[in-house]
Amino acid sequence: MLLLERRPVDSQLMRWASPLLAMVLTVITGFILFLAMGKDPVEGLKFFFITPISDLIGLAELGLKMAPLLLCAAGLTVCYRAKLWNIGAEGHFLMGALGASIVAVQLGDASGFWVLPLVLLAGVLAGMLWAGIAAGLKTHLHCNEILTTIMLNYIALNLLLYTVHGPLKDPYGFGFPQSVMFGETALLPDLIPGTRLHLGLAFGLMAAVAVWVLFARSYIGFQLNVVGQDHRAAAFAGFGARRLTWFAFLVGGATAGLAGASEVTGPIGQLVPQVSPGYGYTAIIVVFLGRMHAIGIIAASALLALTFIGGEMLQIAMNMPKAVTGLFQGLLLFYLLTCDAFIRYRIRLKRLARQPIDSAAPAAPREA
């Protein structure tokens, strides 16, 4: 019979092979899915994975979607390495967008090079504030961070909706829920002229590098690792759990807040309700797929950015529902977790125990 047997030592090969295997399985499932829907599977896969990045504009769009994912994932990596399950990147992103927008609208057409940094800073602080709420609830009131951050995500969304329908609504916007367009000085400069790719990607890459340094070289990164792997050892060593929790959450809030601020000062240029197609949640997948490692999350954010634009392409070219993006992302994570199990376990064919010579051995009566 087939048995799942624990390996004596975790398989290093599987640790790197697992994400690749998961991607292959996702592609295969996609193939079958297209077939089942009566669409040409090869065309479908081509439109999803290849066409979107086949020219410079496409690559720029990839970078555009990569930036917020990478920023959020960098912050989440810091949290997840310490097993702080911060699901709030979406909320921090939204608050970052909100904070940046409020300042940008207030400053209007002000001129000076200080406008943009101030706007971005507002976004960062807003994200940190929102993350701080969850951190405080955890360190001082022992509330589970998964639930609090998710609740805060919904609250942040509603705050954003309220603001864009109310206080920040463009009076000349024909009643649409959107803010005024931000002034020129409050917009992110382009990285590649002629495309929409902006500085946000640079922020993302810098954040990834910072995360790498944090965990490869710094003592605080080591402490975060220990907290995540063995909280009793962390307590024994005197690595303050509270201090580290605040650090991780604030970093997470700052990066996601910056991502949100970059999105409204970059491609969108104003505050709208649909500021995030779910970047904060997709970033979670990026972290797992990227093995919580700087290089990994850069590659994974590129891949997941591709699922966004691939999904859009499929919608246009083959009339598929927009939800195909979410489906592929979900499949990817799901396969990843399953393949990850094979880091720890392997399949073995086990022969059944030998047949008993006398299987009817009676229980001996107790001697008086």
Binding site: R232, G238, D358, A363
Partner: protein
């Protein structure tokens, strides 16, 4: 083959990836016999028990039960055959009653009549001198009482072979005597008993026969009453390992640490609170605290290490009130701690030995302005490995891959190399092979001779009597008085371990 042979194991082989845990083991137990199974940790005792109890299947060999060959493929089948197992770490549910716990192990038909079950429990437990109230919640029982529940459960399931895995490690000397009386009575009535232990004097007092395992094989059979403890020890460890250390007398200096009326209330309903603890520790001496697990040792250790905060002046170190300081701050003052759990507190299992050095030794110049000096970390680890004879694949070995003894040597070495002024060690040789245990004892004595103050918390009375100049006991979170070892008897210590002392007595001054 007479029918009196209850259990016979022939050539049992069980292999795991990387080691042959049981390598051709033969064992016989007669009806009414108390048979000891001895061996160090890692000798193969637990694997053999798992084979007998049906938790794992042997790769080769066979088992005969009352003369018939059998295959035991699950604990449920073992139980139905009449094999009862009392585990070292009890398998009881705290939020259920005694009767509910016992009912879980019976078939639904047997367990349906609760009143009948209650009656049987009361009858059986009283018959063997282990009175139990079936309606009490297990959470309210003492460790000794919980063990009784385990034994009564086996008796109700009409076991004819009772396997006890290290049963006395959690009992006071008086409770051990009670247990032995019960076991002798059971044996007289025809029940066979397999007694797994490493406590040689107890085995000699109780058991008719003994089988000694070493490295997966039977290294000898004997009648314990006819041989000396050191003969048995030789069978356990072979001829070339030292089995004890000679410890020279201590020469204590000034008082270094004072515990003054230390109190701490546990927020865990199942935890132990600390009450009015009082203790003086001098430089250059080893003081021992005996106690059955669960009486506050862990909490006391955490209060000393800083994992638990207490009143500032209830703990004085060199005159300084440190009760509110964090662990890393206490380390900088010269305190070192060796906790009971090596994997999962003393060391992070998945990290390398070098990384684990950073856990406590960062103050040795291993971190500079927030960045880790990897070169220095590795050098430090290599030094520990060298000086303490840690068998491993270098400083990049994963902590979990080391044997218990070697990991413990590394942990002790990590602390010792920081030249601590005070070392608190909790159960440092628990589950450690004899060779490593001797090395650890020698390391502690060396530290003592260099002027460190050492507090040794342990369940191993032999260890305490061998190493310490003063010994006391902890019970229900209270500390007994401390007496000089030379003046202390096991009986007196046993009484203290059971709580037979008044609060408020000042510890004896060292002569």
């Amino acid at each position: 083959m007479t029918a009196a042979l209850r259990l016979k194991l022939e050539n049992i082989v069980k292999e795991y990836p990387g080691c042959r845990a049981n390598d051709g083991i033969d064992l016989t137990v007669e009806a009414g016999e108390i048979h000891a199974l001895l061996g160090e940790n890692g000798a193969g005792k637990s694997t053999l028990m798992k084979v007998i109890y049906g938790v794992v299947q042997p790769d080769e060999g066979r088992m005969l039960w009352n003369g018939h060959p059998v295959i035991v493929d699950s604990p449920a089948q073992a139980r139905s055959m009449g094999i009862g197992m009392v585990f070292q770490h009890f398998s009881l549910f705290e939020t259920l009653t005694v009767a509910e716990n016992i009912a879980l192990g019976l078939s639904p038909a047997e367990a349906r009549d609760r009143a009948e079950l209650d009656r049987r429990i009361t009858e059986v437990s009283e018959r063997y001198g282990m009175a139990l109230d079936p309606r009490r919640y297990v959470s309210s029982l003492s460790v000794g009482e919980r063990q009784r529940v385990e034994i009564v459960r086996c008796l109700i399931q009409e076991s004819t072979l009772l396997i006890l895995d290290e049963p006395t490690s959690v009992l006071t000397p008086q409770e051990v005597a009670d247990l032995f009386a019960t076991l002798r009575q059971l044996a007289k009535e025809g029940c066979s008993i397999l007694f797994i232990s490493h406590k040689l004097e107890e085995v000699r007092a109780l058991c008719h026969n003994a089988t000694v395992l070493r490295q997966g094989r039977v290294s000898g059979d004997c009648r314990p009453a006819d041989v000396s403890a050191s003969d048995i020890a030789r069978l356990m460890v072979g001829d070339d390992t030292p089995i004890s250390t000679h410890v020279a007398a201590a020469d204590p200096g000034n008082v270094l640490m004072q515990v003054r009326d230390l109190n701490w209330k546990s927020s865990d309903p199942f935890g132990t609170s600390l009450k009015h603890l009082k203790l003086d520790l001098r430089q250059g001496e080893i003081v021992g605290i005996a106690g059955v697990a669960g009486n506050g040792q862990d909490e006391f250790l955490k209060a000393l290490s800083g994992e638990i905060k207490v009143a500032r002046d209830s703990l004085l170190f060199g005159g300084l009130g440190i009760g509110a300081l964090k662990p890393d701050q206490r380390r900088r003052l010269g305190m070192a701690i060796v906790p009971e759990e090596r994997l999962g507190r003393g060391a992070v299992p998945a990290m390398t030995l070098a990384e684990n050095a950073l856990l406590t030794a960062s103050g040795q110049g291993l971190v500079d302005r927030g960045l880790i000096r990897f070169g220095r970390v590795r050098e430090f680890s290599r030094q520990v490995i060298r000086q303490f004879g840690v068998r491993c694949n270098g400083e990049d070995s994963i902590a979990a891959s080391l044997s218990g003894g070697n990991l413990q040597k590394y942990i002790i070495g990590r602390e010792a190399l920081q030249n601590p002024r005070l070392l608190v060690a909790s159960h440092p040789t628990w589950g450690v092979d004899v060779g490593s245990a001797v090395a650890i004892h020698e390391a502690l004595v060396r530290l003592r001779d260099e002027g460190a103050a050492i507090l040794l918390i342990s369940e191993d009375l032999d260890e305490l009597f061998q190493l310490c100049s003063r010994i006391g006991a902890i019970c229900h979170g209270r500390l007994s008085p401390l007496a000089p070892t030379a003046d202390l008897t096991i009986e007196q210590l046993g009484e203290w371990m059971a709580g037979g002392f008044d609060d408020g007595e000042v510890s004896y001054a060292v002569a």
